[in-house]
């Protein structure tokens, strides 16, 4: 039995070799005989070992795909987000997957490891990607090396029970509203948190960005150059400092992670918190708040709610070391069908990355529709080549800007970003 498997593998390898040999002469040789196995490495959005593990989703797709393409086997491996650094280690050890889904920094493309997107996805699929995210995958020379796979948009979640108890009539629209409402919720005296401000290392960059946008700031200026210490940002963090000092937030935001605040909101102890659809499963699981106990509104800005929200996306990229461009292309075209996109986003309360799937999902799911409305003109993170390095520094440091030395911290970050190009 074992020998037989070995023999089959040998045939597979031989097949691959002949395929790559042909591939060099003509770009698409189609599926000549021989079985090919492509490796998929993906992030786990659920809990490993349970039925909501993303392993289940991908294995389902791989099995269905194998039925219609018997000569292509997709081998699925998922990695928890908390272990995501392991991916970099695997790549350094030259254990390349054929497809990677998750966080795929520009650096992979800069290191020359990736296929161009046009090599691994048919043009009809590419043109269906939501433009604002697809554009982010472009390299400096305008070539795309990856595609968005799943997206999420941010809004402000507020606890209607606490709002009623504190006699607040309307959800907040401005920073001043947040400040007043948070103070009122704190004054209830039950030890509840007014505004949950997670500036800890998990996602300091996200929460901060939402506040920066409210004051017309951001990480880069209009020409794409880093402008972390721009006056608007300094002002934003000075306001946050005021909020923290007054006790309107949880104590010690610079050490508080997003998940802690989401859990606390789900437990009914937080008045307002910035969140995405991914928070809804937490709320359901906790069971403290029913659907009518909380609401979602656009994130307040300094003088009016944000018209553009923060959109975040995870990517799909193809590694060229395996030489399976054709097979990757067939599989990805299958994965990006509306049905498969929507199945994923329903499972994890995330949003699709394609225009057609968004339209379909909007019709089916009112909560998702609320978020999807904002997606096409959402604001995204910078895509500078060194963004990944800067990001690691931001996560560690940005939270400390909500203190008396806002400008000092932001100046330090600006220096770091520009000197580590």
């Amino acid at each position: 039995m074992k020998r037989r498997v070995l023999a089959l593998t040998a045939i597979g390898v031989a097949g691959v070799m002949s395929l790559t040999a042909c591939g060099s002469s003509s770009s698409s040789t189609g599926s000549s005989g021989g079985n090919v196995t492509i490796k998929l490495l993906a992030a786990d959005y659920g809990t490993a070992g349970t039925s909501n593990s993303t392993q289940t989703y991908w294995q389902g797709l791989a099995d269905t795909f194998h039925k219609s393409h018997p000569n292509i086997t997709v081998q699925v491996q998922t990695i928890a987000w908390t272990n995501w650094a392991q991916v970099a280690t695997m790549i350094q050890d030259k254990q390349y997957p054929d497809i990677l889904e998750g966080d795929a920094p520009q650096q992979f493309a800069a290191d020359g490891l990736l296929y161009k997107l046009s090599d691994i996805m048919s043009s009809s699929t590419v043109s269906n990607l939501i433009p604002v995210f697809a554009k982010q995958e472009d390299d400096t020379d305008g070539t795309a090396y990856g595609a968005p796979f799943t997206t999420s948009a941010r809004g402000l979640f507020y606890n209607k029970k606490l709002f009623a108890a504190a006699k607040i009539a309307n959800p907040p629209q401005t920073w001043a509203d947040i400040q007043n409402d948070a103070a009122k919720i704190k004054a209830l005296g039950g030890g509840d948190i007014g505004y949950g401000l997670p500036l800890g290392p998990e996602e300091a960059q996200g929460e901060s960005y939402l506040w920066m946008l409210g004051n017309g700031g951001g990480y880069v200026d209009s020409s794409g150059k880093y402008a972390i210490n721009q006056a608007a940002n300094v002002q934003t963090f000075q306001f946050l400092n005021q909020l923290v000092k007054a006790g309107d937030t949880e104590p010690g935001p610079a050490s508080t992670n997003r998940q802690q605040m989401w859990d606390a909101f789900a437990a009914g102890q937080v008045g307002m918190v910035g969140g995405s659809g991914a928070m809804i499963p937490d709320i359901v699981k906790n069971g403290k708040l029913t659907n009518s106990d909380y609401g979602v509104v656009p994130m307040p800005g300094k003088s009016a709610p944000l018209t553009q929200t923060l959109g975040v996306h995870d990517d799909v990229v193809g590694f060229k070391q395996g030489g399976h461009a054709d097979q990757i292309k067939q599989f990805l075209d299958f994965v990006y069908s509306d049905q498969n996109q929507i199945a994923f986003d329903k499972e994890y309360d995330l949003l699709p990355a394609t225009t057609s799937a968004s339209a379909t999902l909007s019709g089916q799911d009112p909560v998702a529709a609320g978020f999807l409305k904002n997606v096409p003109n959402s604001v995204v993170y910078p895509s500078n080549t060194n963004w990944n390095t800067v990001l690691a520094k931001l996560k560690q440091t940005l939270g400390t800007a909500a203190s008396d030395n806002a400008s000092q911290v932001l100046n330090g970050l600006q220096t770091f970003a520009t000197s580590n190009q």
Partner: protein
């Protein structure tokens, strides 16, 4: 004499009496060299192991500190001394170094003081001594990571047991009003407390062994000479305890200096790097620059060498006195 011929002669196992097999070529000088080389077969495995697990990583660390790595960990060529310049330009570095000194001095000093008292107590006969001695092992036997996490949860601002207690006795009005682990000074003090908590058992047992080795007749002679309790402790116990004290102190210094899990689990060195010691700073730097983190490791390695030299010097001083 050429080394190679001698090495060749060494190949077969020497006789059981420890002398080399008689050879056909009786050369006076050669025999002496041969005898000198005889321990080689016994030393080689250990030496090879040390070369592999100690020396090679050190060399590799030095090489890494002179390379430029991109954010994905790919080597982009030599960086010269850039990583070191960048490291010494870090605004956080001076604070980190000062904190490391405070960390080592405070943890080791307080640990020794507390352990001296506890060891003295455990050296006395009292009911339940056996149980008490066993109980002291608990913080030692428990995983440091586990202990740190338990303390972190005990300090949770909304439901940590320490804060619940403070709330219930009226020391704190509302939950979620204080988060010690997010403020530099309280966080660092709590980390020092945990480090002492996990260091005391080992230190106590080391000192207890030292105390038990002091013969009773010394104390008897002391009593006959009319010395009081304080005098006895200062002039008899402490000097005779010095070997144990020295070992305990130096092992603790190295342990505490290199300690990672306590601070990592409780604050991750944060907020920012406000509670980082050099080991934590190395880890946090590695997220943005592997080369710079390696440079920090080299600096750390230098510190350790200094500590080891002090240790060797101190132990020589110790044996000379004995």
């Amino acid at each position: 004499m050429t080394q190679s011929t001698q090495a060749g002669l060494l190949e077969p196992a020497p006789g059981s009496d420890g002398t080399p097999r008689p050879t056909a070529r009786p050369v006076g000088g050669g025999r002496r060299v041969l005898r000198a080389l005889a321990p080689l077969p016994w030393l080689t495995p250990a030496t090879a192991l040390i070369l592999f697990v100690v020396i090679w990583p050190v060399v590799s660390m030095f090489l890494t500190s002179r390379q430029h790595f991109d954010s994905m960990g790919f080597d982009q060529g030599s960086a010269g001394w850039n990583n070191f310049t960048k490291l010494f330009d870090e605004p956080d570095l001076p604070g980190v170094l000062v904190r490391t000194v405070i960390w080592v001095v405070a943890v080791v000093g307080l640990t020794i003081l507390i352990s001296l008292g506890v060891a003295q107590l455990f050296n006395k006969q009292f009911p339940g001594r056996k149980v008490a001695r066993w109980m002291l092992i608990a913080p030692w036997a428990a995983s440091v990571v586990m202990t740190s996490i338990v303390f972190k949860w005990m300090l949770n601002p909304s439901n940590g047991t320490i804060l619940v207690l403070m709330h219930d006795v009226g020391l704190m009005k509302n939950f979620n009003s204080v988060n010690w682990l997010s403020q530099q000074t309280p966080a660092f003090i709590w980390e020092i407390v945990v480090a002492i908590f996990v260091s005391v058992p080992f230190t106590t047992y080391a000192l207890l062994a030292g105390l038990q080795a002091i013969p009773d007749d010394v104390y008897e002679a002391c009593r006959l000479d009319g010395a009081g309790a304080a005098r006895t402790y200062w002039s008899i116990t402490l000097p005779l305890l010095r070997p144990a004290l020295l070992v305990a102190a130096l092992i603790n210094i190295m342990n505490v200096f290199n300690s990672f899990p306590i601070i990592y689990e409780m604050t991750g060195g944060g907020p920012g790097n406000q509670t980082s010691t050099t080991t934590l700073f190395m880890y946090n730097t590695q997220q943005t620059s592997i080369g710079e983190a390696a440079a920090m490791s080299v600096v750390n390695f230098g510190f350790i060498i200094v500590v080891v030299l002090l240790f060797l010097r101190a132990s020589r001083w110790n044996s000379a006195e004995d």
